[in-house]
Point group: C2
Chain length 600, copies 2
């Protein structure tokens, strides 16, 4: 049986000492987000995740969703858990109080999302999709649509979806075929009639809420070709009555659900729209802009899914490594009263555990920093500061999505490997994390697409201005750390890796100008190199805090000592991957492009 | 729907030009293994795998094995396929003609095993386990046991198992509890009575054969503690009658089967032995020696499973990348008549495909070379040559097992990634390869255990003599290649990587002497470094042959050109991982051992 405890101590460390909760509550509108309140919220959230959501994770995987007569039944206990979730107001935690939300910072919500994804990723998909729909509607919906629908999304009685993908197109949304035509004159509902088929629609149909709001990409009759001709529509499952209750069924139905490798308790639906009534969200043909609001938030959220799975995988790996007795320590018997030593004594097992740990804790710090910038971008009084923060988020989004989901998958595999043969058995519970984590590397844009977004869009944007929001603080922090003897062993490897990143950036910028395939060929390796340096930066910051606290005799010394040792592991055993990445980046596109298609 | 075609052209290239079939048929006893005969056998084997085994792979995964009243039902079609398999004599392909086998080289059989594992890994488990039992019995069984049981294993009417693992021990067999006591005087069957519980027994119970022969590790009453007190017993499911038919049921029964992540059509059984009659195989307390015969053969076989899954994954990834239209080439539209270009035009997709390809083809060449040495070790007229070949196999076994299974898993994941969201769907068929491949990194000794075997046993053995069987030829080949201008771009990166391997070896040998944890800490990275150099060596050999054939105007020019381009990809994009590996090896054990157990 798998275990899970929310990592409250580490989250508090990150919030209090790495990001600085005081800075957060200094933002206009977040005055109430005091360290005390945030602490209480996180503790309550931890309880919910440990006691309500986590116990349904494995049973949900075993049972899966069931489809019958157009309806989807979620696994046993999901309905009750969802009620508990929305009744306590979790859905509206970071939503606008104008629509019933609690108006807490996004950072707090994202920390909670980590817990949810650790506890039960499939469950988390339902509220997660609703929040995505809320964000798009809140930003681009008309006042009428917002008044009518946002309170339902905030209280969680209705849920949301994102309907992008079609059978023939996922990444390339420019070729979607779903159509929208203006409703006939005199149609009491007004709006548009939507017709088409969408696939891979998470939470497209389920039994958790009384209504479902689909945000659907479609083409208007006069739409230009490509992504510049896509519009966004809000299409409810049931047409809302004047009193806000769900009314008549709309022309949208679930055709089937997918049999998937993982997240089996999350319904993945084929959605058929046939003359379904929908209302335009935002301007005609500008749907991609609104969709990107959803998508960028969703990409960060998927990165956090990876983090959540990495954390729970790590916990289970450690737990087993402490319990399982097998073989003797290479440096002499450690548990003479037992038939064998616990496998945590073996260097290779420790290497596995520390890999998961160092990536997970580094990702948590980097994820929190990114989420903090989301809040600054929305709330800060100064426009320039808001813009800078937004650009930092834009830059980090593909990195958080791709790097963290790779970390989630790798950590899940580490948990399986540490369990040996038992890891392959369903009842043990860790192979589910591998299957669940696998989708995170794919949806919301595959990790390869994230890499292209980084090199093709974020890197050249505004003459490299986005990049400077990362390069400048990292460079400054490295320089400052160089002055401190006690940071030497940590900052030296980071300085080397950072130099490689700068060189690689210059190389790609220069070669990519002449030949975009050069940038494309380097993309994945570059994102990884960037991500490793970003985590190294997080670790440098954490080490500095830990050392300062130890010197001052403040806080939990064992916690800070573990931080320092984990940082040492990261710098000496993981960060050096940057060396090989730089070499393969420098090798260029030719070795990839030379082989004729027919010769594959 | 997944696809599979046996890679006959590449196998022929490896056999004819890398290993040299002429050398094989020059071995005493293999005179009949002419290139023509081997070619026919492989073509027939390819047909069997493509037409009989492959069509049952996905249905077998969907249906799984069923357990009821102590019996196991394999999925629909497996019984018929197994009959086809044994009736055509495939089970005895490489077995001794004295017991009804065809006496073909092990190399040929291993090439066939690759096809089987590509087509249907779960199916392949049943004959694979039988062959393991055959090998142990043929080497250590008494003449009586051999006469009585080997013909049944060779004709496939009976099958075999390896019963090692118990609930509390897998890697650490020294602590097994299963007991064997001499049968009472006057017991007509003689032998011993075995009592205990074994878990994770592949093919422990099934409906494919009329009898099952379990090879069971157990302790005799007077056994010394640890692995020096383990004996090996042959325990049949049904006691054989005098006429060779299965008779009365023995005291062994399947208690349950496991629900697993993958290889669902392979039964994984809990086997309960209660006063089961068994006969000693080999000497008392020397069971580990015989078990190692099975295990070493099984480790190579598991490596080949990884290769097989890598091949079929690659094929499906390429197939989809050619068909799927999405986005446009970065260097301009490639398919103007279509709404989008096939995704194989994108550099990052190509990087994925070429990674799978370069690893797969390199592994095939290295695997074949290792298998060839198996044959030399058994058949060569000269004792010293036999010993040297055996030592080469010993050295390469952990590398083939761990490296190839990592390649299998990574390639399966590449296939999923290239398929995008469709890869996550069961019906597409590629996520099964990920789930199936996952066990290969675990069973027959986890890949971490393989690494320890390499650094702890194979590296120091006979003052490094095993190592020299690899280092000398590689060094010679690199030196010779340095003389040829046309090999320069390939041999230079290999020479660098080889130098790193030599340095790392010296480092580990030196540090490991003082502190065995230093060797343990380096083990996994060292195995990977070693494996990457070994594949680089294979690629250098392949490039040389391809260039020579092109220069001579012989053979399929497109095939040889693709070899050269794939080699270039390997040397510039994969082999450089050795740089980071060397750095992390040199960082030593301290970063792994410093963190106290309680702090994890």
């Amino acid at each position: 049986m798998p275990i899970y405890k929310a990592p409250l101590e580490d989250v508090r460390f990150v919030l209090d000492e790495i990001v600085g909760l005081d800075k957060l509550s200094a933002l206009p509108g977040y005055e109430d987000a005091t360290p005390e309140l945030v602490g209480q919220v996180l503790e309550e959230g931890a309880k919910l995740c440990e006691e309500v959501l986590f116990p349904l994770n494995q049973s949900g995987d075993g049972e899966g969703c069931h489809f019958e007569n157009g309806e989807v039944r979620t696994p046993k206990g999901f309905k009750e858990a969802y009620s508990t979730y929305i009744e306590a107001g979790w859905q509206g935690l970071a939503c606008d109080p104008a629509y019933g939300g609690q108006g807490l910072p996004k950072l707090v919500n994202i920390m909670l999302e980590e817990f949810i994804c650790s506890a039960n990723l499939s469950f988390g998909m339902y509220p997660g999709l609703s929040l995505g729909a809320y964000n798009a509607l809140a930003m681009y919906g008309s006042d009428e649509l917002k008044q009518r629908f946002l309170p339902k999304l905030v209280d969680g009685t209705w849920s949301g979806t994102m309907c992008l993908t079609e059978p023939h197109c996922g990444t390339d949304l420019g070729i979607i075929r779903t159509k929208a035509v203006p409703a006939e004159e005199g149609d009491p509902q007004g709006g548009y009639k939507i017709t088409g088929t969408k696939i891979f629609i998470s939470a497209g149909e389920h039994d958790l809420t009384e209504n479902i709001l689909h945000l659907v990409l479609a083409r208007l009759p006069d739409a230009p070709a490509g992504t510049r001709g896509i519009s966004l529509f809000l299409v409810p499952k049931f047409m809302p009555n004047a009193d806000g209750t769900p009314g008549a069924r709309n022309g949208v139905a679930c055709g089937s659900i997918e049999h998937k490798m993982g997240i089996k308790a999350s319904s993945t639906c084929v959605m058929n729209f046939e003359d379904a009534t929908g209302w335009l969200v935002g301007e005609p043909h500008k749907g991609m802009r609104a969709m990107f609001v959803m998508m960028n938030a969703a990409r960060l959220a998927v990165g956090i899914q990876g983090l959540g799975l990495a954390e729970v995988s790590y916990q289970n790996a450690v737990n087993y490594a402490r319990e399982r007795l097998q073989g003797r320590s290479l440096s002499g018997v450690k548990a003479p009263d037992k038939p064998a030593d616990p496998i945590i004594v073996h260097p290779d097992v420790r290497k596995n555990l520390l890999t998961a740990r160092a990536f997970t804790e580094g990702a948590r710090a980097l994820g929190a920093l990114t989420a903090y910038h989301l809040d600054v971008a929305e709330k800060h009084a100064d426009a320039r500061t808001r813009r800078d923060a937004d650009e930092f988020v834009q830059l980090m989004t593909p990195i958080v999505k791709a790097l963290f989901t790779d970390i989630g998958f790798d950590s899940a595999n580490i948990a399986v490997q540490v369990h040996g043969g038992h890891g392959f058995i369903w009842e043990t519970g860790v192979e589910q994390y591998v299957r669940d984590a696998r989708i995170c590397q794919i949806y919301e844009g595959t990790n390869g697409i994230q890499a292209l977004d980084l090199v093709g869009r974020k890197l050249p944007q505004d003459m490299g201005r986005l990049l400077r929001h990362f390069f400048h603080p990292v460079g400054r922090d490295i320089e400052a750390a160089m002055e401190k003897d006690e940071l030497g062993e940590f900052v030296m490897p980071l300085a080397k890796a950072f130099a490689k990143l700068q060189q690689a950036t210059a190389l790609i910028a220069q070669k990519g100008l002449k030949d975009p395939e050069e940038a494309g060929a380097a993309a994945s390796d570059y994102l990884r190199l960037f991500g490793l340096v970003a985590l190294g930066w997080s670790w440098l910051t954490m080490v500095e805090k830990a050392q300062a606290n130890l010197a001052a005799g403040e806080g939990n010394a064992a916690f800070y000592e573990a931080k320092i040792k984990t940082a040492r592991f990261y710098m000496t055993k993981l960060l050096p991957q940057t060396n090989s990445l730089f070499i393969t980046i420098a090798a260029g596109a030719k070795p990839l492009m030379d082989l004729e298609e027919a010769a594959f």
